[in-house]
Symmetry: C2
Subunit: 469 residues, 2 copies
């Protein structure tokens, strides 16, 4: 029996794709930067099938690339061009919600569940699954966890990692690590789940997770705010936090990002674009009697008197609120339409955000004056995405712009790291940031990571060429 027959034997012929047109969608990464054809795409439907697929892969000496919704931005879910012969192991058929326990504020979902499906299941049970980002309608739980996804709702509830109570993982040798308990407290030895969260499938395959839910939000107030500078934005952030309101979203965007939204997005920005920076802020309460509108107006009022706010508009309806967040969510797509772009994904301590942005902006003005700076991000987390876009009418294509902007990414990373930050905040490493691991990662940390990888995956079978340089 060939390996392909053996895979088909495990998952059924219809779930073992070998034809080019079937495999193509699994070959190209979301951003279109990486393209490699796997030997097959194998879609197991159960934990046991995943384990058996790994055993077949081992026998055939094939590498295994785990894939979910494949919305990752670093090329982590596609095979390696010029790499070892690989299969893509797609979890999409493992899409059951195994359990939801509103009293326990928990849900157990398989890796192939679409994130939005879990959000909806929680909402139907009167609960909130708080992770939220643009790709949530496509991204899956396994990918969300394997990349430790962030997004616009991490201020109160943390990143994907922070929502995990327990995991079910298939180890590279096919053994099942069943640690799917729903307990809040468990100090019985090393916290193995955290090794696999954010490991991008290089240490094993997450097949299911027990996840924490939050109380549903009874009231929300959302504002779209013009501010004169990153320093003013930070001061406004401080005012919200000092007030004691529960700030659940605080996004910052440079004017040019908002111009892109107006030009390419479906929703008009609700303020004139005469300010250099804009903030989207949201406060919330799970209890209906919290005077949320007063809190919002008081904070914005005192900030305006102090000169930290130039103008602001409050969402007067759920429709207006969704419009504000739609502007934010569509920004990656609007950016893409605006022209070739070089991207970064850095974080710094929240208090260092103004210094970070001021340094990046002045560096761009000096070295790439024709470039247009897109700065947008989760300022309340210190995680700003700075991108450099080709000038209006650039007709030399993406590679030429990447060449022209050479040094931008490494310089932004350097600035972030020099301020005590990270060169990879929420998108992960995948293929596209491995070079930055060499430059910026603490060598002792890198060495320990390599030791762990060699221990758990001595054949380097799991997603080779990802994460570790």
């Amino acid at each position: 029996m060939t390996a392909l027959d053996a895979f088909a034997d495990v998952v059924g012929p219809a779930a073992c794709l070998t034809e080019t047109h079937d495999i193509e969608p699994y070959s190209l990464d979301w951003r279109g930067n990486f393209n490699a054809r796997p030997t097959a795409v194998v879609k197991p439907a159960s934990t046991e099938e995943v384990a058996r697929v790994l055993a077949v892969a081992k026998a055939a000496d094939l590498a295994v690339v785990p894939a979910g919704g494949r919305t990752g931005l670093c090329g982590g879910a596609v095979a390696l061009a010029n790499g070892p012969a690989s299969i893509v192991l797609s979890l999409e058929r493992m899409n059951q919600i195994r359990d939801i326990d509103p009293q326990d504020f928990s849900i157990v979902a398989e890796a192939g569940c679409v994130v939005e499906t879990v959000q909806n299941a929680a909402a139907e049970a009167g609960r909130l699954f708080p992770i939220q980002w643009g790709a949530q309608g496509t991204a899956q739980i396994g990918g969300m966890l394997s990349t430790n996804a962030g997004g616009i709702r991490t201020l109160s509830w943390g990143n994907a990692r922070d929502l995990v109570l327990g995991l079910e993982v298939i180890l590279p040798d096919g053994r099942v690590l069943d640690d799917l308990r729903r307990v809040r407290k468990d100090n019985s030895g090393y916290a193995l789940r955290h090794l696999f969260i954010g490991a991008e499938g290089t240490l094993g395959i997450i097949t299911a997770a027990a996840l924490r839910l939050a109380p549903e939000l009874k009231r929300v107030e959302t504002a779209f705010i013009a501010v004169p500078s990153p320093d003013a934005a930070l001061a406004l952030y401080g005012r919200f936090r000092e007030s004691g309101a529960d700030l659940i979203g605080f996004e910052l965007a440079a004017r040019y990002s908002m111009e892109l939204a107006n030009r390419f997005g479906p929703v008009r920005v609700p303020l004139a674009l005469d300010a250099p920076w804009y903030v989207m802020a949201e406060i919330a309460a799970a209890h209906p009697s919290v005077p949320l509108r007063d809190m919002m107006e008081e904070t914005l009022g005192t900030a305006m008197e102090a000169g930290d706010v130039l103008d602001a508009v409050l969402a007067e309806s759920e429709q207006q609120r969704l419009s504000i967040w739609k502007i934010r969510e569509d920004l990656p797509e609007c950016t893409r339409q605006g022209g070739p772009t070089v991207n970064t994904d850095t974080s710094v301590p929240v208090s260092a955000v103004p210094k970070f942005l001021n340094t990046v902006v002045s560096e761009v003005e000096r070295r790439w004056p024709e470039g247009r700076i897109i700065a947008v991000g989760h300022a309340g987390d210190g995680n700003i995405h700075c991108s450099l876009q080709a000038p209006e009418g650039w007709d030399q294509g993406r590679p030429a712009w990447a060449a022209r902007a050479d040094g931008f990414e490494s310089r932004v990373n350097e600035i972030a790291v020099s301020l005590g930050g990270s060169f990879s905040a929420e998108h992960g490493i995948g293929q596209s940031k491995r070079h930055a691991m060499v430059t910026h990662k603490n060598p002792v940390a890198l060495d320990v990571m390599r030791q762990l990888k060699a221990t758990l995956d001595p054949d380097d079978r799991m997603n080779p060429g990802k994460v570790l340089p």
Copy 2:
């Protein structure tokens, strides 16, 4: 130069203890169950000194037992009786707060900082360091993290692990893993910090941590409540959570625990002891305009109408509030005075708490009818400590009671695990729960833990005989 001279050379002669009377306090664990004399107690004052002490220990083939405030309950911070020759490496002199950044809601503290010192530093900066438990005036940050301490404030802010932004760790080979960044988002490879948190010093020594702070609480409402059953307590918990109030404490205690408090504690319980179970509940708000008293009264009122609450008293002053929590914090000491006791530390999903308690109670009534059951714990986390105390007037000593109560611990652990819970919720494993690791831990998980230990500490030098069976 002897090893002792070499240690003294690194840390100074005054910080290298070799005399019996100096070493004694470091030989006996908090509960008095484990006693072993180390070769020396070495107290480095800096990260570099810790690394050099490890190098000397390696050259002399001495095991290293890291110690902080030594308030752990499982014998993790004392040397192993009949084990290899060991030093206790006490972090007590590394007690500096290196940085506090209120704007960033973060603090960087060395391992030897007393937990209360960090709480106070945060409070002075208008912030809250939310971890809280009875031993906080003695326990140190390094021990808090190495045991992933829980306590009575984990409902909103999580366990110690959840507060860590970055760590500085000395690896067993003396290398410094400097990952002390204060960023909220960092997906640059594996989350190494989580390996060392909760590892009880078996994989390396935590020397400093960057920790998350929360907004200070502007208002708090606290109630002491009589309930008819664990089911009613769970229903009350559900009402608080459903209401949307921010529930920051929810402790449950069986009547006999409260009798111990009245008998041995400094504070009288504020209700008559005619109910079988009692709850201490606290809701809080960081914003002064949240109508907290109304929220509390409404929840208790509807719960009383439904029969889930028998009686309740609200704290009318900060003094009364502190008294309620003093009852809770002193319970371990009151328990000790009540007679010989066999203890457990289990957790289950929150929704399974009533079934867990009902099963334990009926099992005790059947098998140990003369025993007095102390059940007290963090019901909102599913973490209840069940203990079996010898009958009034027991004069045969602790070992005889332990023999009589033989099987209690393993049966409680078994009940918790069968309900999807953990046999070790917040105290860790240390020496005293290693046997339970053999019985109850998933063998694949155990095997992976052993692999990690062998990889990072191939000489088994770091705290041998702890955590892993």
